[in-house]
Symmetry: C2
Subunit: 455 residues, 2 copies
Amino acid sequence: MTFLSYEELRRKLLTLLHEKNYREIALLIRDTNEVDIAEFLGECDEKERALLFRMLPKDMAAEVFANLDAEDVETLIHDYSDKEVAELVDGLYNDDLADLMEELPASVARRVLAATDPERRKLVNKLLAYPEDSAGAMMTTEFVHLRQKMTVIEALTRLRKVSTRTEMIYTCFVTSESRILEGVITVRELLQARDESTLAEIMETNVLSVTTQADKEQVARMFDRYDLLAIPVVDSENRLVGIVTVDDAVDVLIEESTEDVTIMAAVRPTEKPYLETTVWDNCKRRVVWLLLLMFSGIINGSILERFEHAFVALPILVTFMPMVTDTGGNAGSQSSTLLIRGIALGEIRLRNLGQVLLKELGIGLSVGSILALANGLRVYLMNGHDLLLAATVSAALLAVVVAANLIGGMLPLIAKSLKLDPAIMASPLITTIVDALGLVLYFEIASALMPGLRL
Amino acid sequence: MTFLSYEELRRKLLTLLHEKNYREIALLIRDTNEVDIAEFLGECDEKERALLFRMLPKDMAAEVFANLDAEDVETLIHDYSDKEVAELVDGLYNDDLADLMEELPASVARRVLAATDPERRKLVNKLLAYPEDSAGAMMTTEFVHLRQKMTVIEALTRLRKVSTRTEMIYTCFVTSESRILEGVITVRELLQARDESTLAEIMETNVLSVTTQADKEQVARMFDRYDLLAIPVVDSENRLVGIVTVDDAVDVLIEESTEDVTIMAAVRPTEKPYLETTVWDNCKRRVVWLLLLMFSGIINGSILERFEHAFVALPILVTFMPMVTDTGGNAGSQSSTLLIRGIALGEIRLRNLGQVLLKELGIGLSVGSILALANGLRVYLMNGHDLLLAATVSAALLAVVVAANLIGGMLPLIAKSLKLDPAIMASPLITTIVDALGLVLYFEIASALMPGLRL
């Protein structure tokens, strides 16, 4: 049995569904990854979804259910009895159940919560109470905790017992009677140790942990930095209350990258995939920044009004205007993008501001000189060997590029120091700022070099 | 002992170094994560680096060494004997050693390779022969393989034996005599199974695997999609040759996001962090696209030349020009950015083109109408109640925004269908294209609505 890509699987299933060949479908999905089945169910209509879901073996159904979108869950459980809902929910880890609760409409969420046993309901409600972007909201409460006095054999025996109801068993945490986090030990270390060693002897006591209030992006970055499979989450008294696992960290890293890129394009981020968003939703997320940027563009208009005499006297100046401002905008966006990403990755910190500005000055001068030279030559050759015009445009270009690089290098760090998201200092805003600056520089330089243009 | 953030640790170590308090330093670093020590060594000068490295306990030294940058490794081993180099290299996994080889200058790499035993040298050379962006270059050759006829107890015994020299032990692979991949089993499943079961009975036979030639970004995305800890890598005969582990997948996901963002800013990507790049290196990576975009700007110049009569007759038209083209550029960048990211995440596929265009048309019309209305009102009120002027600018704005959204929605998918990187269709290129289009639309609409402007 070879592993099918989702596109291959989808084509096969659509054909089989069309042929109503349910025997083959049952065989095929039994050999399919639950994530792919869940995606396919999302593409089906309501009736097919219910039908296919009923065909799943019980152990797969729980896993597929855990991977369904909230909307699909909603239509699916519509026809289910409370007992059936309870069975489905039983297969979910607490953190997945909490995530689902958050996405379901209130009435459906209430029904699902009513179907879970009271003990668990309390735990899930606790998870739901943590702020959305915190480690608390990201963690699960199903983990292995061991005691210092246990031997390796005892620890392994306990692992065997709890491993079905535990999301991550490979990193185990050692706690005191009062649940204070005391150490960490991996299954690898347990396997390597002598059977009769106690955990107190072999555990690592300098435990990397985060609090329930920690920012989820920072938690996710720790997984990347330290190559972890799980991080313990503690409350303010250092009591272990949950763990964050690497799969959730990967999700957060990808989500946060998407969020950054979206903000950098002047769009308010959403967690929904593009194809699932409506036109109106997109409109609301995009129009605010466009309006703001458009109205900042008024400044450009008034700058141009100030220099109207110049371009009426020498209309060819207008011809080069977009080139100068666009190039400046592009250069500034290059700098700001590299800075924003470097800050997000923790590679560039506030203390590096001086270093950044010096580097951007150097880059602006070298890049700007190359562009000015190339452009000067072009203008000189193509515009009647007008050396003064070529020099004017090129000088403006160099000045704009240097200024743009400095602005692009500076603004993300300034945003960071003001506790703003550096990602707002990306292309659209930088372009608008550099445009205004570029116009002033361009016409000032033109007026300075071309005496005829002065008022 | 509480866990220090890197910034706290750095401050403490710098103070202690300044005070030459080596006793405290030795105590502190013994309780510090190896990743943080490696970063700090990277900031030290050569002498301090050598001194601090010698102070590390042996088991930590190997781990710190694995996390050092190639340049730091180079200066560090400069004074080391071949025997010492051999010891350090011995602590590296094969994939990390191969990565290091790639980054070291040839002469140093030769010296390091000479220090490794011949068996291992052969393996590392094999890893080095895979294409840079392939699963082969990403995998390690240290993994657990088991046989179908083994019992659970035998498998666990084997795990205990090999676990020190194996990067990932929690996902084990079952192979035939001729190394054909037959199944997969996790340590969790081993712990849950009865001692006397054979692996043949309990292993999963539908194994998700990739070939050595698979693209590393796609491999990394599989970790995210299927929540995996390891993926087996097979050759063309389905023989198991290595595994990719989740920590390397996380690195690739972050690298690829950075690469995308960098390309989207019209910068040639690099693997080096911003602060480690030189001015000249940055200049080369940035100037090519700027030159290309600048020269495409010539088109804008010639468009403006064509409409010179219009803006000489009505200079106020120039005043609104940057606002119209900038807004179009921003709107187009919004669309293209969301598309590029959606394609990268596998959420948007070629077959969705129609859906995307319809959605972008709707968004363009709604966003464009709001902007046109707001702008029309502004122009009317602030420019002497000139209704015709307000209508002209607003009509142009609406047309440009709709066109920009369609272009931004289309180009990334077209790039994808041409096997180009969709990320090149980002803000800078879209802005340049939309600028040209915007100028034409603006002046054509102005000429159509204002009879006095016609030639």
